[in-house]
């Protein structure tokens, strides 16, 4: 036994080494889903720093590298920052410093999303997203943009200065162990910021607003419904009048060249005979690609179409000076996409909202002009069916010759797993997105370098419409409706960006990649939709078609993805009907829950029902509708009946066709029947108002009238609501069906806000998008009054720290339709000031 003692001691020591080594490893690297435990939980530099960092700023002097003169940053009680810089360079350094101080994790997440590096920190669940981004190539675009900037380019200089400010914070936080807690819990440190990262963040926004899947959906519909019915129900031009803001006259000119577009033999644009069939191989490719895109993070691609902006000149306002309003509708998250900031520097004086990662404001005002944006919704994404052949592996046929695809090799790093190799093939049209069945590439305007930052810097410095319009000449993507108002009394609107024109073919479907349907240019800048000081004294956009049906260029279809125009109708009616407008009037309109479509359809419905002998719950529900004010208020029972009715009405009308022709809603959720089908809303509206008896026969040929289907849908509605909300229609309030939620950007439940009952619907001015628990809507509400106070509010807070008082402090005001001043009051004392010395 004694002889065995050394062995036991050895085993004992080995066990101690293994256990200690394991603990050290767990402390330094983490185990399984657990973060590095030592780094994450030690009381000095672990997650606990979140508590200390949640304290609001106090007045102090801080160090910041790179400054040439002292800079002062003041904060008001809501967290809005006011930068006072003596040089432009110092302004951008301070912008970077502020963004990184309050939103560093958000910035890192945004760049990772665009650079295809999410899997590196969250594991294999993000591989699909990373693959898609590497294919699409936001980083390639960003690198090309950066390479294309000269050393004296103001955008390049601003990006470099901004980067200094961001990296100041990263360096300081790393040295002091004060990085945001989510870095510690995910077990990584952010790499240093680069100007290309900023350009990738710009690409993220472009993708969200501009990358569309319309041709994929059309292909699936044509395969199911056939071409004729698809185009009848999802036509290029809408059934309803959408209050276009540019009424013409229009002039058709030759396409303007698109920068960086592959050279192609110019040809006369021609209409083609309709494509009747979608092949099996094409269907397979479209299906695969649709599945990939459907699996992307919710805000990677914006399917909705909800933003408003409007301006009125002095003849319509109480002050006699112009007013402007803007509320861009985006995915609503906490932290929000916006960071509010004001600045005063030699060349820049502005107030508005910026996106963390970008060195400027996108929406706001300077001392002379104000502007806001909505999405144009034009088709900026064309899909190409490449001709490939097994005898020419790795090649595609274009313009009668075989060309080698360019290949780019990636390795997607995966946390807790092996890196995934990825080869991206590039054709003359763009990246190949799938080779399942049919090789399909995508030509997306957002993939082309677009000097947006330079354009916005010029906008911020502009003092009149001429400068404003000139600044936006080089804005390529995402196409945006830039509304404008100035102190001098003018209003304007221009829909800047690229509108691709194809040589031939129907761009709403996947196009042949043989060279016959290539993009040959864009609508010339002078011919894009625009207006200046119109005789109506008002201008507005709400994602409706900007032009009348006489416009000589193709800009997109009803499905891809213009709004149905009901918000535009509402805004038009309100602005036309009022004079001596004030901030309160604009605020009321931005928060308006009046449903324009309901005001058209409900009288038809109640009229139809009046000929029926309704009893009991049906009769009560009818009475509620008859006395309803068409407002989607949280407390309204009529709102619940209307919305459920409209949903059923659509399903009853089109559902039999969807079932008979097997429309693949399981593959593409965007094809599911519901009020978000804007083209079908318009069809149904037209059918109901025109009272056409035969428009929507059943697949077996049986005719139906709109009254038949309305009556059926109404009874279904009452039955459905009785089951879900009880027998008393008076208690069927909209808030019991409909909620809003602001999920966390990192998709962590506990960090989100809501859900809570809410008013609004898809097409109220105060829009609520994303289903019965809406997660998209007004992401920022701004009112600029050149004769009074300018105001703004967004649903969130300035800090991404969930313990901070500024994490979600603006949500209550946003919810209640209240606003905060864009600039501090003259006698206002800042909450705190940071003084930075060089």
């Amino acid at each position: 036994m004694r002889a065995m003692r050394p062995l036991f001691r050895g085993l004992h020591a080995a066990a101690a080494v293994v256990v200690t080594g394991g603990l050290l490893y767990a402390g330094a690297r983490g185990v399984g889903p657990l973060p590095p435990l030592g780094n994450a939980f030690n009381p000095g530099t672990g997650v606990w720093t979140m508590a200390a960092n949640s304290q609001l700023p106090h007045t102090e002097t801080l160090a910041m590298n790179g400054l040439s003169k002292p800079v002062q940053v003041s904060f008001d009680a809501q967290g809005t920052a006011y930068i006072h810089a003596k040089t432009n360079r110092d302004l951008f350094i301070a912008m970077g410093y502020l963004h990184a101080t309050f939103r560093l994790f958000q910035m890192d997440l945004l760049r990772r999303q665009g650079e295809g590096l999410l899997s590196q920190v969250v594991g294999k669940k993000a591989i699909a997203s990373d693959t898609f981004e590497d294919q699409l190539g936001l980083q390639r675009t960003a690198e090309a943009e950066w390479k294309g900037m000269s050393r004296t380019d103001p955008a390049r200089i601003a990006l470099n200065d901004y980067t200094i400010g961001v990296n100041d914070v990263i360096t300081q936080d790393e040295a002091s162990g004060q990085l945001p807690a989510l870095f510690k819990l995910l077990g990584y440190q952010p790499k240093k910021w680069t100007p290309i990262d900023s350009l990738v963040v710009q690409g993220d926004m472009t993708q969200t607003l501009d990358f569309t899947t319309g041709p994929l959906e059309y292909a699936l519909l044509v395969k199911s419904l056939g071409y004729t019915k698809t185009m009848d129900w999802f036509p290029v031009l809408p059934q309803d009048t959408q209050q276009p803001y540019d009424l013409g006259p229009y002039r058709k000119e030759s396409p303007a060249p698109i920068e960086s577009q592959p050279s192609s033999v110019p040809a006369k644009v021609k209409q083609t005979t309709p494509q009747i069939q979608v092949t099996q191989a094409e269907t397979k490719a479209v299906t695969r690609l649709t599945q990939v895109i459907d699996a992307l993070p919710a805000d990677a691609i914006h399917h909705g179409s909800n933003s408003n902006n409007w301006a009125v000149d002095g003849t319509k306002t109480a002050s006699g000076l112009p007013m402007l309003a803007g509320d861009p509708h985006l995915s609503q998250t906490v932290p929000a996409i916006w960071y509010q900031v004001s600045a005063d520097a030699p060349s820049y004086q502005f107030q508005g909202v910026s996106i963390p990662g970008l060195p400027l404001i996108l929406i706001g005002r300077n001392n002379q002009i104000a502007w806001s944006l909505t999405n144009v919704q034009n088709q900026a994404t064309d899909y190409y069916k490449e001709t490939t052949n097994s005898t020419h592996p790795g090649s595609y046929e274009w313009n009668g010759h075989w060309h080698k695809m360019q290949q780019i090799h990636y390795e997607i790093p995966v946390k807790g797993g092996k890196a995934v190799p990825l080869t991206v093939n590039l054709t003359v049209h763009g990246p190949v997105m799938t080779q399942s069945g049919q090789t399909m590439s995508v030509d997306w305007m957002g993939a082309l370098p677009s000097p947006d930052i330079d354009a916005m810097l010029q906008v911020i410095r502009a003092h009149n419409y001429h400068q404003f319009k000139q600044a936006l000449k080089n804005w390529h993507a995402p196409t945006q409706n830039f509304i404008y108002a100035d102190k001098a009394g003018n209003i304007g609107l221009i829909s800047a960006g690229y509108y691709p024109i194809v040589k031939s073919g129907n761009p709403w479907l996947p196009l042949p990649g043989d060279g016959s349907a290539d993009i040959i240019g864009t609508i010339p800048y002078n011919q894009v939709p625009q207006a200046y000081d119109p005789p109506s004294h008002i201008l507005f956009t709400a994602n409706q078609r900007e032009v009348t049906n006489a416009y000589p260029y193709f800009i997109g279809t009803t499905m891809d993805f213009f709004d149905n125009g009901y918000r535009a109708d509402e805004i038009h009616n309100d602005l036309i009907g009022h004079n001596k407008l004030t901030n309160a009037d604009f605020a009321a309109l931005q928060n308006d829950t009046h449903d324009y479509l309901a005001s058209e359809i409900v009288p038809k419905l109640t009229q139809t029902l009046s000929s029926s002998h309704l009893t009991g719950t049906d009769a009560q529900a009818q009475q509620l509708l008859a006395h309803w004010n068409d407002r989607m208020d949280e407390s309204s029972a009529g709102a619940s009946i209307w919305w459920t009715f409209w949903t059923n009405y659509m399903k009853d009308t089109f559902g039999p066709w969807w079932a008979a022709t097997h429309v693949p809603t399981n593959i593409d959720s965007n094809l599911a029947l519901g009020p978000s089908q804007t083209a079908l809303d318009e069809d149904l509206e037209a059918w109901t108002l025109a009272n056409s008896p035969t428009q929507f026969t059943l697949p077996n040929g049986s005719p139906r009238t709109s009254q038949d289907v309305m009556t059926l849908a109404f009874h279904q509605t009452v039955s459905e609501l009785s089951t879900t909300l009880g027998k008393d229609p008076g208690k069927w309030t909209w808030g019991r069906l409909h909620q809003r939620a602001f999920p966390s950007l990192a998709q962590i439940g506990v960090l989100g806000y809501g859900p809570r009952p809410s008013g609004g619907d898809l097409w109220t001015v105060d829009a609520a998008d994303g289903g019965m628990t809406s997660t998209a809507g007004p992401s920022w509400r701004m009112i600029v009054n050149f004769g009074g106070q300018s105001e703004g509010v967004y649903p969130g807070g300035q800090s991404e720290n969930p313990l901070s008082l500024w994490y979600e402090n603006q949500i209550p005001a946003w919810w209640n339709g209240e606003y905060y001043p864009l600039t501090p009051s003259v006698d206002g004392t800042p909450l705190a000031s940071w003084s930075f010395n060089p």
Binding site: P6, A13, L24, P43, S54
Partner: protein, 133 residues
């Protein structure tokens, strides 16, 4: 050496170690707890003494630092948020317990490792075995 004097020296040592652990953590050196426990295992002959010294230095170095911060910052709410992020619901207490369990484990394993290695280097006599164990 007199027992009481020796005890004072052990307490002094533990106090210094606690301070080193505290400061180490604020420099991000969470593994200082290991190093101290290993040192205790080698320096303090009695295993029970070495263990207690390590526990006090490590758990104290972590726990007191947290308690001190809690006087000025919302440490409890931080724990609740972190629990939510980690999928533990709103049970912030689990995060606090985890934060204190770690120095306990570091102290235990560090001291154990030192004792195990020192026995290989210097096999104890039967008498010494009884005294130290």
């Amino acid at each position: 050496m007199e027992t009481s004097k020796w005890m004072w020296m052990v307490w002094l040592l533990v106090g210094i170690e606690l301070a080193i652990t505290w400061v180490g953590n604020h420099l991000g050196l969470w593994y200082v707890a290991f190093a101290i426990s290993i040192a205790n295992g080698f320096v303090l002959r009695r295993t029970i003494t070495a263990m207690w010294a390590s526990y006090i230095a490590c758990i104290g170095g972590w726990g007191l630092a947290l308690a001190w911060q809690a006087l000025f910052a919302p440490i409890g709410r931080t724990a609740t948020i972190v629990a939510g992020i980690m999928g533990l619901g709103s049970h912030g207490i689990i995060v606090i317990v985890l934060a204190l369990l770690l120095p306990f484990l570091f102290a235990t394993s560090g001291t154990w490792l030192a004792k195990a290695l020192s026995r290989i280097a210097r096999p104890p006599s039967s008498q010494a075995d009884r005294l130290s164990d």
